[in-house]
């Protein structure tokens, strides 16, 4: 029996009658500006043009379109380089100005959550050092990794509420010769992809109407400092974060739901390195198998380094136990790039991924054999010249 639309529609109408609810928490950005006025730090403004998106309690968040300083992810750049490459490719495709810095350290949060061989002061100092570097460059920081993003949101809360911590970190920044700067917004790249999803949709060259997607939201994106994450009343009624899902829909693919949507992927930070039975069991039993059984997706998309790594790499061992696995995993950045005609190897760098992705490419209408031949030619050329690299021009040739 079809679900009577009137039940849900009636409820939505009643919601409008009761009027808006006040946000239950303070807006930390107001505190950030107050501290600037009190001379505690500088606030780097989001450059124009920016796009306004809605966060959990209906507040507007400014997402910079261009002039972004790219706070890279070590897990992405280290193990899934197609992820970072695709983010840069998307920016370049839109002809936007950006900065890919060498004056950037890892956020060090993976180590922190794994081993706790750090402390509040060190973590905050690392964050502020990176923000200082961005400010010096004149470009606005955009964070690539979900954990970096969640962690930096926490650091902001801690700095705003503790004068002692601010003083400690300011002393460190002074010694380093770095300005003491808090950006107006802490922006995750998936928020930028969400804000510009219609631009990407316009440039789509593949037909994705037959592609079923399951979305995995990164815990650290939406569970750390919950109010600062994107929510959209048109996406899951505003009760689940809208990033990635909204992008999939904009690109014309199909978002399929599954019953462990809210579950962590099982990355565990230290578990994936030294207690891997947990990670691969959790990822397989609680995420991949459930997705397969309930949604049968062609691809799993997520927006964080750890999640891509966990979900992609955990499936191999599970096959030895005849578990129902075997669905490819990538970031929405790679998926969007592919949809816009990016090369699966030169840009999406899928040869670094573990779970079989070639049937997906075929279904998307990508001739991966031809593309791999092209890439092998690139590799042969590079082999012959140890000083040569693949360039952005090569990537789009």
């Amino acid at each position: 029996m079809p679900i009577p639309l009137t039940v849900l529609e009636t409820r939505r109408e009643a919601r409008d009658d009761r009027g808006p609810a006040a946000p239950p928490t303070e807006d930390v950005r107001e505190k950030v500006f107050e501290l600037e006025a009190a001379g505690e730090w500088l606030v780097q403004r989001v450059p124009d043009p920016w796009i306004g998106v809605t966060t959990k309690y209906g507040r507007t968040k400014k997402i910079p379109v261009a002039r972004t300083w790219h706070h890279k992810s070590c897990g992405q750049c280290g193990h899934i380089p197609g992820y970072s490459t695709s983010i840069f490719w998307l920016i370049r495709k839109l002809g936007l100005d950006y900065n890919d810095p060498r004056d950037q350290t890892s956020c060090t949060a993976w180590n922190y959550y794994a081993s706790a061989t750090s402390n509040q002061g060190a973590q905050a100092a690392v964050a502020m050092r990176n923000f200082g570097a961005a400010y010096e460059s004149g470009y606005f920081p955009m964070i690539h990794c979900g954990t970096s993003y969640g962690h930096y949101k926490e650091v902001r809360e801690e700095l705003v509420h503790s004068a002692e911590l601010r003083d400690e970190v300011r002393r460190i920044c002074d010694k380093l010769g770095k300005p003491f700067v808090m950006p107006e917004e802490i922006v995750h790249y998936s928020e930028w992809v969400y804000a510009l999803r219609d631009e990407f949709a316009k440039r789509r060259v593949l037909d994705l109407s037959g592609i079923d997607v399951t979305v995995h939201p990164a815990c650290h994106y939406h569970k750390l400092v919950v109010e600062d994450a994107i929510y959209d009343p048109d996406v899951y009624g505003g009760q689940r974060t809208a990033v990635v899902s909204a992008v999939v829909t904009a690109l014309g693919a199909n978002v399929k739901d599954y019953s462990t949507w809210f579950d962590c992927c099982g990355f565990g930070f230290r578990h994936i390195l030294v207690q891997r039975d947990f990670t691969r069991s959790f990822a397989t039993l609680r995420k991949i198998e459930v997705m397969q059984e309930e949604a049968n997706p062609d691809v799993v998309l997520t927006h964080d380094t750890g999640c891509v790594t966990t979900l992609d790499q955990s499936q191999f061992a599970a096959r030895a136990h005849d578990r129902k696995v075997g669905v490819p995993v990538m970031s929405e950045a790679q998926f969007a790039a592919l949809a816009m005609g990016a090369h699966p190897y030169r840009v999406a760098q899928l040869h670094w991924h573990n779970t079989e992705y070639r049937p997906l490419l075929e279904k998307m209408g990508i001739d991966w054999r031809e593309r791999w031949r092209e890439f092998e030619d690139d590799l042969a050329r590079l082999k012959g010249d140890p000083k040569a690299f693949l360039t952005w021009e090569d990537a789009d040739a």
């Binding site: 039940v7 309690y57 209906g58 505003g238």
Partner: protein, 355 residues
């Protein structure tokens, strides 16, 4: 000095206050924004009242009959849009179907009540706007009033039903840190009604604490478990998602100390109380203090539960915070007495000295 007491709100508090005012020889002007009297029990289709299972319909009809009195001027589809003056001489502007009028009143009783928490809010993960089979206590009442209880998605009776307590209450993340007082009793009552209607249906209540005070404990809680086999499981639910066409809920069975996942046909959210739009609007218009949750503040509690921050303005019922019907009618009587005493120029009529 004008003799009339303005009663704002025609729900149980307002109806009882107006009746009580008339019963001691006073005059009341009763204003109600809807075109029917009865307030939330009427608007939210209350079926049986907690704890004695009396008919809400009958109770409301009795209250309505109580204001059919020449000393009570009832104005339906009317709201208060402005107020000036002070105790003994308030001038209020009423907006009604025929336009605006100005009235002079000597005292005011605010009885604007509450609204149910919206479980579709962004802080919740219960899918109220995604799954028709996730319903609220009032949604369940509506069905029970018609002596039926079915899955909204199929129209068929459910094989199992779960209640989740404290939705929108006792929650620092939401800002509603208080307890809404009645939901444990109401959920247990509805559970009993469902068990009576559908003897083969299993009913569960997932809770943090079961709060049924006084005689509600032995009149509702114990019978629910002992006679009607309602299963109480201690542990609250983090999210509801769809699975196999049913609802999957994730919680912890804290007594057993382990995570719990169960498929349900219907899940009833025990939504708490928030100040109604009327309460918020009227508080602003009258200049009456509100507490941090937006309810009308009671500066004199616990010994004075009807005096507001403005002399001559009193409150009755859930406009002052979560109240059950017993509290409500008690407050209504006290407010009526104080209001009439005020207009008769008696500073401390019939009650202990307010401080």
């Amino acid at each position: 000095m004008p003799e009339t007491v303005l009663v704002i709100g025609g729900g149980p508090a307002g109806l009882e206050a107006a009746r009580a005012i008339a019963s001691i020889g006073g005059r009341a002007l009763l204003v109600e924004r809807r075109d029917v009297l009865g307030g939330t029990p009427d608007e939210s289709n209350y079926a049986a009242l907690t704890p004695r299972m009396g008919s809400a319909q009958e109770a409301l009809d009795a209250l309505r009959a109580g204001v059919e009195d020449p000393a009570i001027d009832v104005r339906r589809s009317t709201t208060v849009s402005a107020c000036s003056g002070s105790v003994g001489d308030f001038r209020v502007t009423l907006s009604g179907p025929t336009g605006e009028t100005t009235e002079s009143v000597g005292a005011i009783v605010v009885a604007t009540g509450f609204q149910h928490f919206d479980p579709g809010r962004e802080t919740q993960m219960y899918g109220y706007y995604e799954y028709p089979d996730v319903i609220t206590l009032p949604d369940a009442e509506k069905m029970l009033k018609d002596h039926r209880f079915v899955r909204p998605s199929t129209g068929e009776p459910p094989r199992n039903v779960a209640f989740i307590q404290c939705v929108g209450s006792r929650d620092r993340r939401l800002g509603n840190e208080y307890c809404s007082k009645v939901c444990c009793g109401v959920a247990s009552k509805e559970a009993i009604e469902i068990r009576r209607l559908l003897p083969d249906t299993k009913v569960y209540i997932f809770y943090i604490d079961m709060r049924m005070y006084g005689f509600w404990e032995n009149e509702i809680y114990w019978p629910a478990q002992e006679q009607h086999n309602v299963n109480y499981i201690r542990g609250i639910v983090t999210e509801i998602v769809g699975k196999d066409g049913r609802l999957l809920m994730k919680g912890e069975d804290t007594t057993m100390g382990r995570p719990l996942e169960v498929l349900m046909d219907v899940i009833v959210l025990s939504v708490g109380m928030e100040p109604s739009r009327g309460t918020r609007d009227v508080a602003q218009i009258l200049g009456v203090d509100q507490n941090k949750y937006g309810f009308i503040a009671l500066p004199g509690e616990p010994m004075d539960v009807v005096t507001t921050s403005v002399p001559g303005i009193f409150v009755a019922g859930a406009a002052a915070g979560p109240k059950d019907l017993e509290d409500t009618v008690g407050m209504a009587g006290a407010a009526a007495l104080r209001a009439v005493g005020t207009v008769r120029g008696l500073a401390h009529a019939g009650t202990v000295a307010a401080r």
